[in-house]
Symmetry: D2
Subunit: 318 residues, 4 copies
Amino acid sequence: MTKLTAEAAGTFAIAPTPFHDDGRIDDKSIDRLTDFYAEVGCDGVTVLGILGEAPKLDGAEAEAVARRFVKRANNMQVIVGVSAPGFATMGSLAHASMDAGAAGVMIAPPPHLRTDEQITGYFRQAAEAIGDDIPWVLQDYPLTLTVVMTPTVIRKIVMDNSSCVMLKHEDWPGLEKISALRGFQKDGSLRPLSILTGNGGLFLDFEMERGADGAMTGYAFPELLIDVVRLSKAGRRDAAHDLFDAHLPLIRYEQQPGAGLAVRKYVLQKRGVIASSAQRKPGSGISATAKAEVDYLLARVARVDRRASLEPQSSAAG
Amino acid sequence: MTKLTAEAAGTFAIAPTPFHDDGRIDDKSIDRLTDFYAEVGCDGVTVLGILGEAPKLDGAEAEAVARRFVKRANNMQVIVGVSAPGFATMGSLAHASMDAGAAGVMIAPPPHLRTDEQITGYFRQAAEAIGDDIPWVLQDYPLTLTVVMTPTVIRKIVMDNSSCVMLKHEDWPGLEKISALRGFQKDGSLRPLSILTGNGGLFLDFEMERGADGAMTGYAFPELLIDVVRLSKAGRRDAAHDLFDAHLPLIRYEQQPGAGLAVRKYVLQKRGVIASSAQRKPGSGISATAKAEVDYLLARVARVDRRASLEPQSSAAG
Amino acid sequence: MTKLTAEAAGTFAIAPTPFHDDGRIDDKSIDRLTDFYAEVGCDGVTVLGILGEAPKLDGAEAEAVARRFVKRANNMQVIVGVSAPGFATMGSLAHASMDAGAAGVMIAPPPHLRTDEQITGYFRQAAEAIGDDIPWVLQDYPLTLTVVMTPTVIRKIVMDNSSCVMLKHEDWPGLEKISALRGFQKDGSLRPLSILTGNGGLFLDFEMERGADGAMTGYAFPELLIDVVRLSKAGRRDAAHDLFDAHLPLIRYEQQPGAGLAVRKYVLQKRGVIASSAQRKPGSGISATAKAEVDYLLARVARVDRRASLEPQSSAAG
Amino acid sequence: MTKLTAEAAGTFAIAPTPFHDDGRIDDKSIDRLTDFYAEVGCDGVTVLGILGEAPKLDGAEAEAVARRFVKRANNMQVIVGVSAPGFATMGSLAHASMDAGAAGVMIAPPPHLRTDEQITGYFRQAAEAIGDDIPWVLQDYPLTLTVVMTPTVIRKIVMDNSSCVMLKHEDWPGLEKISALRGFQKDGSLRPLSILTGNGGLFLDFEMERGADGAMTGYAFPELLIDVVRLSKAGRRDAAHDLFDAHLPLIRYEQQPGAGLAVRKYVLQKRGVIASSAQRKPGSGISATAKAEVDYLLARVARVDRRASLEPQSSAAG
């Protein structure tokens, strides 16, 4: 697998980790999920992120999951989330992943960081801990991680660490942040950097227009992300928004903190991609009412985008 | 003005506080804004909330703003946000507001509260501080306030304090919370309680179906909130969603923390309702790019809902 | 009263706000407390700080309390805490205080500030809001305020705002911070700045040795603070520590977050300085067991420092 | 090794994890440290706690460290901190530790828990995850962990989980909490529970008087903890306080968040117990000035307690 570079673009799916109902890792569903991402046209897959319930796996399990995704991914690049409370665990997983053929790793700041110096210092130490030959993605997700990084701080991290090649952008609000970073590049103070956006895709329509290179998020219809990225890059603004808006009610529903993962696993299960929507404990379930709401939203999306028409299958897979 | 009761329903607009460009309060825009809410059919107006930049006003200004809204409101009920770091300030504003004719007050928990006992204890003291003859609204907004109240805690607060008549519901995610509270009422453990929902209206479509009595939020097209509440209560589910979905791209754009207020004031200014979109310091502005994005969204909404067609006026007012 | 300058030094007592048992402000105890601080030799008094239950007062009460302290203070400088959720309230209290003769004001950062830019930006706006002719004290108290300021950020605030003349230092741990700031002054990158230390005096012994100019805290025996500051400045290291260590068990007991204020008011009441140890709601009381523990500690301190021998009075005032 | 029970009492030392200067684990120092704890008379040792830099070790290292301590501990009971972001890691370490002969494990709440229900739910799941035959210690440390547990919540956790046999009490302030819990036992609503106190020993004198069973903390002179616990249980109140007070200036110095560990490792190194004071990255060092301050404090303690007289060794080891 080629290593990740600052030229990376397109759509990277954030993969959930499939479990059996009893909490064991479901290897077959990992394979099917990987194949699904490849078939719909994803450029890459990011595994063991927050959505991937990574902290619920022990070290051996995490390495096994990363290897399985990488092995199956063929032409797609795989990024492995290696955020950990300590650098020993981070380094172990990073090396195991790269040895297995991953394209790069992703690192989020630990929640206790507050000052600019603490943040930039942490990432210097993290980059040193994994070794400067491993390309890595900086995750900027203040809503969940509580660490706030200004554009200036992000620039410093990128300029301090040559192995940092991508920003997973999911500040909220974040549109001005993309503009600020692209502005830094215009004025020559920031080197090339891939920016893929998260936040469930909730602002993907405008993020692309602000200069993002693509999407990296877990919406259960990665086809939509791929299309919006493609249409936007082709300059077909209205078409991009028309398609995006058709999915927005569901995108919004999926983007509920905590509850969103249950919705995504439910939809992926309905789509026949994973066998069970189970989460490892502690996890949140999805109520019958919520399922019916998702079904209703799917039916509404399907009026515009036939790929969301899941009803026949759902009776079998639901 | 009649006092607020647990039977309150419909749409209460959360009003921004209009300022002149130099930061002085703009009384004429308060009047025009109040008239606007009445004309479009709001049932009430909530002033001096978080959106209303309440903490930026000193005590005398807050009382003056509350009085002006109340005086102008005619048949609409006015709820005054009285959250304050201490009970003395809270009590002063509550009494001044009720003396002026307000229907009730709204109280949010201070951010340092953590345990269930701290939360329920705080609201007991707050209710005592304002006096038990003033009806009040419990604001549940963890995303901004960082205080997490379970359905059980909300029930205890409501049952402990007979003057608590309404929940401003804006937990996120929050659909299951509405269901849980309505379930408490079915099993007889919770007395009648009005539930109006906030969060910029982002989930109003399903919140109504879960049992909400209406909306209390600041979306710059309260007409949409009114229509969705009405259609939903009339059982016209698809029609409610169709209209809601047409506005959702803009609702989503407005619901960005911090940045959202600038968007709302910009739209209200475009609509000719307030004279300036200025915020008091410290405030966030809105970039030219963001304005263009909002204009684009307005034009798209206007394809379905003509009330969003502001282009002719915008050249004059923009 | 002379205005506060960067040459300020010595001991500034942080004054509690005395209340009657029913929560009304106790003016006579304000007078007696002020006289007490003057008699024991304080150089200044800081009122309406966190310890002073400032947020529990409404605007009019805060101004009245500030005026009363200032009027009574004679030769002591009075600093008024003006931290507020908004600049309108902050400015009103600052001007009222300076008009009444205060020496300066104190400003703490609001808890939502995170990044270096947010923090330095806030203080620029705050200094502008009160006007650049009012000398002010920067309060650095991360444990309670949750805002973390590096030495570099503090330097920037001081260099950005010529009216900032003093740091109330109460980071924890904080000894290296004093050394870092004094180092900045040695290398010429920081202008003169008075540093008075808080934290209940828990590290005053070493803070003086690190370069502090004195103490600004609320320990109920300001005599001890005065003595330690004096002995330390005179180079009598062992004597300073001997006296400090005799009080440390009580200093430590008083420095318990939340509970500490009740202890201080209890001791000041025992000393006959204030009439009641009551706090305004929401406040914490002091249990009978805790009172007995404080009495025991006082008796032990009194073996070394006779000023702590309060037993005869305590039976009357307790 | 006998399993931990609710009858546990005395002094459990919180052990730092000794590293070589290059960050590798120093097994020989683990042995020497364990022997030291046994020689001075500790009843137990707690390893891989927050002080033990546990998150910096990967899974295999953590198990190896736990095994080494257990094997060397002989008659002392060893408690292994197993707090982890997920139950898989927690369970692995718990079973490996118990298999190696540990007496029990310790679990702290993850920082995201807020409501009473979240907290009690978490510990139910954690106890289930490790299996109900492993005795465990509930760690209550809000200052660092940000999770606040009321006495009522602690009682519920203990009553819900029969395998919870001990509270590591380090709320701050916390004296009333001990009294409340012992009160619950008097009124029959709480079953027997060992309470050992932490917080660096800063309140050990009064914690014993409130009903604690002993100390579990990392003060570099566990002899002092042992003596205070013993004297207090023997009813020799003044003697306990006299000895405690002599150490308090150093106890206080060691109890600085973050910086404290560097002080402890420095003192243990001076005492010849561990070979290096190095911490794994990210770690805090200790400045030359701080070292001199600690040396000064040691010399002062040594005037009363000869065991603190380290000067001859210090020139060699320092």
